[in-house]
Structures are given as C-alpha cells and as structure tokens.
Amino acid sequence: MRFVDEFRDADKAHALAAKIAALCEPGRSYKFMEVCGGHTHTIYKHGLEDYLPEAITLVHGPGCPVCVIPMGRVDDAMHLAARPDVIMTSFGDMMRVPGSNGSFFDAKASGTDIRMVYSPLDSLKIARQNPDRQVVFMAIGFETTAPSTAMTMLRAAAEGISNFSVFCNHVTIVPAIKAILDSPDLRLDGFLGPGHVSTVIGCRPYEFIARDYHKPVVVAGFEPLDILQSIYMLLRQLAEGRSAVENQYSRVVPWNGNVVALKAIGETMELRPYFEWRGLGFISHSALRVREKYAAMDAERLFSVPGVRVADPKACQCGEVLKGVLKPWECKVFGTACTPETPIGTCMVSPEGACAAYYNYGRMNRNRVPEAAPAGQS
C-alpha cells in the first residue's frame, strides 16, 4: 500500500492542517461548498472537519444524482414501468428512491418488471433478448453518466435496435451551482469542484464562477489529502485576493475534459428549457432531454408520461440540506423517521447523500487536531 500512503499520510495531513490554519485571517469565517457527494463521503469517513479551524465550514452541495431527482419523475418512471409491454431498467442507487407510492423495489416486489442494471449497455442486451417488449432505461446522473447513456443510444442506433428507449433525467452541474450562487440563503467563499464530472466537462465551465462571482474554485480529488490540499488552495487564492479555477486533481482531470464524451452527449441530447430539482426547484437549462433526431429512443415521446409535479413529504428537509442551508442532523426526521433502511428523503438513500454520510459515520461533534487551531492559540 505504498501508493495509498502518499494520499493518506497522517503527518502530511497535520502539516496541511497547520498551513490551512495559518492562512485563515483572524476574525474571518469561511464557507466552502463541496459540490460532489463523493467528497462529502470522504470528508465524513475520515473526519476531515477535525483538521480544519473553527473558522472554516464545509457546506454539502447538490452533487448527488439520486438525491436531486424530484418525486414526480419517480412517479412518471413508475407509470412507464407499470405498462405490461415495458421492462424498466435502473441503476441500483435509484431502486430505493421513494416516489408517492413507494420505490422501484416496492414496485418490483409487487410484480412490476423493473430490473437492476450495472450499465446502460446491459439494458441494450435485455432489449436484444426481449424483442417483443419495450426496454426503457431510467437514465439518471450528472455528466459522469450522461456519456454512457449517449454512447448506448449511438450503439442502439448503429445496431438498429428498435425496442430500446431512455427516460432521460440527466442533469448538468453548472446551472445548479449558479442557482446556489444566486440564492439569497447562502453566502459561500469558494467551491471544491467535482472530480469525476470534471473528467468529462473539464475545468472551463467553472470559469464564470471565478470571473462573474469572484469566488475561487478548486477541482478536487477524493483522497483525504486531496481535499485538505484543495481547501488550502482555496484559502491561498482568497489570501492573495484572487479568484480562479485551479485543478488539484490534474492526475485524472484534463483541463478540457473528454471531448469524445461531450460530442456523444451533444449528438444525442440537448438542454431542456427547465427541469425541477428536488429541493432546488425549477432551474433553467439544467437538464438534458433526447434530441428530436433520436425521438424513437425517447420514452417521453414514445409513451405518455403524467408529468405531475409532486411536493416532497412535509417532514423532509432534503431541499435545505441540498442547498447547504441545513446540516443533515438539523433535519427533524434525521435518524429517527428517516434512516438509510427506510429513507423519507433522497439524501438518506444514496451513499453519496449528505444525510447517509452523516448517519453512517456519526460525525456530529468536531474534535479538532491541535494543528487546526489558529496561530497563537492552542
């Protein structure tokens, strides 16, 4: 495990904690949003907040694809799946997300033909094996998964498969970040940019955040030291009065992203005028739909979908959690009515959801390392 030690070295973590503390201006507080649910997971698993001075608060962002799917879309998918001619396919993460009348798992248990798949390509195989049925893939996710859906559609078109379609719920991260920046609820000082989304879209789409909102952005890796180093890079920009997009995760993320992936998305999908996000409401140009050219693979065109807007359960405060206004444990039902086994809200469903991360690692109190105390204090 020689390699891993490079990313986990406790001495380096303590050294970074001291450098971070030294960069904090006395009397100033800092709020940084980690956009990606994978980062939230690392932060709680390793207790990284213990390495940060009291002046720094990490706010969890909306980057959990399962968490932002509104209930109405789950109900629409359920409506499609209930058709006798349809086989619905879905990623495992989506199976427990509650709709108005239960989850995919509940529907499957009562006989609806919903199958869990690892890849959209698996759905294509199911379509080949069942030529007399319509196979509808529940496509969800940010720009990390959208290329896979796009490539699968291109393959289906090349093979002339006519019984495969996509119920497209792909969302794009940048408009959600913009909505958060424009929200009056929250004042942020900078962003930890999502690592894997950026392998696809690259770093340029974040430039408006630095240019127009004057906030620093650091695209970050998923190891504990990656995150601490990225926080240090954010603070250094602030200390130097700069705002720029920097790439801490350059060992994986190319500055220009994956051009093949972007082309595949652009060929098969286009931006919707608006899309509803759970907790964030309607955000313009924030999601993808299937292009007219591929209408034969668009479940929304092929079948009628109710498209009814469904309000979230009253007790659930996922919206506030997704915007970073509430910490998960401040939600009234956290850990009582809402647990990973019986989730009410989406943030408790996915392992990338902030509530599930808090619940699983039980980090409600901070126990700081000495290096995290500001200079001159202990």
């Binding site: 495990m1 390699f3 891993v4 490079e6 990313f7 986990r8 649910g37 994978g38 997971h41 690392t42 698993k45 959990c64 694809p65 399962v66 990623f91 495992g92 993460d93 989506m94 869990m116 798949v117 690892y118 890849s119 959209p120 390509l121 698996d122 195989k125 199911i126 969800i140 996710g141 940010f142 990390t144 998964t145 290329p147 896979s148 490539m151 894997h196 392998t199 696809v200 998923f222 190891e223 060992r251 994986v252 993320v253 190319p254 994956n258 051009v259 093949v260 992936a261 595949a264 392992p351 990338e352």
Partner: protein, 90 residues
C-alpha cells in the same frame, strides 16, 4: 453508480475495437472503451470505470489509492462490484 472504479485492461476485444476486458478486484468483465477513442488504453494500463464505460486513464498509484478508498466505504463498493459481476456487456 457514480463511483468510479479502477480496472486494469487485460486485453482488447479482437473484433470490437470499443470493448476491452478489464480486471477489477479479480472480477473480469468486458467494458466499453469508446470514450477513450482519442487515446485507447493498452493492456496493462489502468482506467477509471463508470457504469461500464472507461471514463479516463489513470496511473497505477491513483488506481491503488482509489481502490483502497472504495474498499473502505463498504456496502456501496460491494454493491458496485456485485453489479459489475452481473454485467451483461458484450
């Protein structure tokens, strides 16, 4: 689903240039490498795999670190490996 899992490319598919066999924690499956067509991976190279597609090339150190992180997160990783094991890509 959103977990990127590292895999080592073992061999390229002899007929379909967009498929390759990878080894992920001992599970050997076909994945699609079409998104890396600008610079296709060779056997022995490591890739980050998302839902059956190689999204980027990574070096071995990154792969080892990512793998340990994933193994440490427990159930989500086990679900992902189980899903990969059941994958039907051909």
């Amino acid at each position: 689903m959103c977990l990127g899992i590292p895999g080592e490319v073992i061999e390229l598919h002899p007929e379909q240039s967009d498929l390759a066999k990878v080894n992920v924690s001992g599970v050997k499956r076909l994945i699609n490498i079409g998104l890396l067509s600008d610079d296709p991976p060779k056997p022995g190279e490591w890739v980050l795999i998302h839902v059956g597609f190689a999204l980027s090339k990574i070096d071995e150190a990154e792969a080892a670190a990512a793998m340990e992180f994933l193994e440490g997160i427990g159930q989500a990783y086990e679900d992902e490996i189980a899903a990969l094991r059941g994958s039907l890509i051909e």
